[in-house]
Symmetry: C2
Subunit: 435 residues, 2 copies
């Protein structure tokens, strides 16, 4: 990897202090972004595919770096769940490489004409997608994010400054070197994808608060505490991804079999994803017939249920829910459950306790469905489908950097299209504006 | 106006401190926004038209309030230009009312389906426009902004908290009372449009930094110092409008007559608008034939020209330009001028000195035009047209709150569409996500 690293300019120069290093990374990113914004799709895709190739060729080196990270993390007593997120094996490395190949296959959003129209005076208007510019990504110790985020930003024509968790620093550097190799092979500036070279937490503060002249937007990718820190400290725009406290509402007009399929899938297919259901709301109008089977199926599948009095009456295995349960994103085989008086009380419960991420209604009543879909103010609202479809790939948008719970700029899955801005191109034939 | 004001809840309660008042305004705005988000176009338009009617009916009261503002401002020695912005007369009040009527006629963006598609599994996806939520508007002492901004936010389904300049406080209150009368007549919550009831500058800091739980975005409307203060202090997303240091580049392949029309219009039609040209760039390839006529026409029209040596050689009336001139938004009958070596040097000059607002190329050469349009990174780039078309109305977008020079969320004219977010509505028939 030496030859590649020799081309890297994101490493600190001898005796350079943090502020100087970060400002230099910022200037380099801006310069790279100007070149990248004009790169065609073929060149960007070539870099991404070459990075995937390099990753496969260097898998052994990546795994060796990851083993060092894991050893150090174990020595520091990192929690098992975090160790698992940090750990790579041959299969996971191949998965990361395949993810890069898939990003290369996505359509290039840059240059797409979003809208065009002509005015009576003959002026022809086009709204055209352009990159955002320079994106900062702050993430936890998940080595795969280095590749995903780096490639998504490259594909969307943005230079990126990556800052991963300190426990994964060796793995991230090894993966980043593969991305750089891809840039070199495609003839793109190596500064298109830079990795903050220090684990100093102060570097994160710099990226968030001191680099407004260079960074157009910061995307935190991680748990609530990371996102909240970024939103609190950031002096640049942020695309935030807060927790997914997702709800499934089973309406009185719900088909029981469909409700069972959707509730079990929404909660248990994967419990650790942000689209996993965390609260089940059952309409009193069907509680007599639907509540016991729904709770029983969850419990029989090994899911803990924390419910209100009616749920506990329906199945003695249900534990008592406290207010905290309505607000909790378990990310585990636990679900909160309560009975509500119809769609309006369901909408009110979601407004009070939800995180505006993803909610689903199960019903055969079109009026109830439309009322729910239009009145639930979440990034994603579904009718008769599992909340676990909350994923850019399932939307047909391809890989994404997360599900935005912001209302500003991007909401829902943040894919390559959401990492762009636009400009107006106006073509005339000598028009001047009348007095 | 008493009956209307009696319905207002944005006035401080007896003995209520600033923080309490601002937090209450925030809570009231959130509650109003939830109702407003579901209001249909007819109701919102009825409120706007009724506000225009109230404004016409109460013109005398508005003018009396404005006279008090003017007297106080004169006593404090406010600059003539600022006094003019503050001053209302019967014609200006009618202009504000007509502006409201025009906003009522705009299409309602809320509920618009931006995109829809179906996935192989049968899930039907729609991306639907929704309001942003609660918008804070901070503006200078321009009474008309109270009406424009209030109505644009209402039309786009957003509750708004308005904070105008202290010199215009009486005028703004009188105009705001008319907006409230419109809300009451249409049966919408009066808190849809609230006016910060104090001129205490600390209230602005609260709006920018302390109200993240209530305010989704802040829009500063005013000069550079205001926008910079807002961008510096804001802890919520900002749609910024920095200065318009706009350029016209006259290429070697430009028709001289067209270039004369466009340059004179771009600079002099109105010198105080953000789309006014501030720098003229002339290609050395046509300087021999085009430079003298262009400079002469500007000078003969009473425009001061500050140019480089070649411009001064072309016309002795041209004064010497300093570096500062390339960076200055004159908003006056002054233009900077220099000769450049073709389209690439023009692009480089704009990248170095421009504010990414609006730039125009005059040329009969399609290749030069496309190179300029694709490589100049400004919100608006024009070919063979005046920069003074940089206006939402001229774009066919209707009234706007300003021209965004940000890349994030909204770029260029910020009209009702740019004051919205979106959500995903997904309709299924029992789909669950495979393992």
């Amino acid at each position: 990897m030496t030859t590649t690293d020799a081309t890297r300019t994101d490493l600190p120069a001898a005796g350079e202090d943090l502020a100087t290093t970060m400002a230099r990374l910022g200037r380099q990113a801006v310069a790279a972004a100007a070149v990248l914004a004009r790169a065609d799709a073929a060149t960007k895709n070539a870099a991404i595919v070459a990075a995937a190739r390099a990753l496969r060729a260097r898998a052994a080196g990546v795994l060796a770096a990851n083993a060092e990270d894991l050893a150090a993390a174990r020595a520091r007593g990192l929690a098992p769940a975090l160790l698992d997120r940090l750990a790579l094996d041959a299969g996971r490395v191949e998965g990361i490489a395949r993810g890069l190949d898939e990003i290369a296959l996505l359509p290039d959003p840059v240059g797409t004409v979003i809208a065009e129209w002509t005015r009576p005076n003959g002026l022809r208007f086009q709204r055209v997608r352009v990159p955002l510019g320079v994106i900062g990504i702050v993430y936890e110790s998940r080595p795969n994010v280095t590749a995903d985020a780096g490639a998504l930003c490259l594909k969307s024509g943005n230079a990126v400054i990556l800052r991963g968790g300190s426990e994964s620093v060796r793995s991230s550097r090894a993966i980043h070197a593969c991305l750089v190799a891809g840039l070199v092979e495609a003839g793109l500036p190596v500064d298109c994808i830079q990795l903050v070279p220090t684990t100093d937490r102060e570097a994160v503060r710099h990226l968030l608060a001191e680099m407004g002249d260079y960074v157009d937007v910061v995307v935190p990718r991680g748990g609530r505490s990371l996102v909240e820190r970024v939103q609190k400290e950031a002096r640049v725009p942020v695309i935030g991804h807060l927790d997914g406290n997702c709800h499934v509402y089973v309406d009185r007009a719900a088909d029981l079999a469909m409700a069972l399929d959707i509730v079990l899938n929404a909660k248990l297919r994967r419990t650790g994803v942000c689209g996993a259901a965390e609260t089940l709301l059952v309409d009193r109008g069907c509680a007599a017939t639907h509540l016991k089977p729904l709770l029983g199926a969850l419990l029989d599948a090994g899911c803990e249920v924390r419910g209100d009095a009616e749920c506990r009456a329906a199945d003695p295995r249900v534990r008592e829910a406290t207010e905290a349960d309505w607000a909790t994103e378990y990310l585990d085989a636990i679900i909160a459950a309560r009975v509500v008086d119809g769609v309006d009380e369901a909408i009110a419960h979601i407004a009070r306790w939800g995180s505006a991420h993803t909610e689903s209604i199960v019903t055969a009543d079109p009026a109830a469905a439309e009322r729910f879909l239009s009145n639930v103010d979440s990034a994603i609202v579904l009718h008769n489908a599992s909340t676990q479809f909350a994923d850019g790939g399932e939307f047909g948008m391809g890989a994404e950097i997360g599900i935005s719970t912001d209302r500003f700029h991007a909401r829902g899955p943040v894919g390559v299209e959401q990492l762009t801005s636009y400009k107006y191109v106006v073509r005339g034939s000598g028009q001047v504006r009348p007095k």
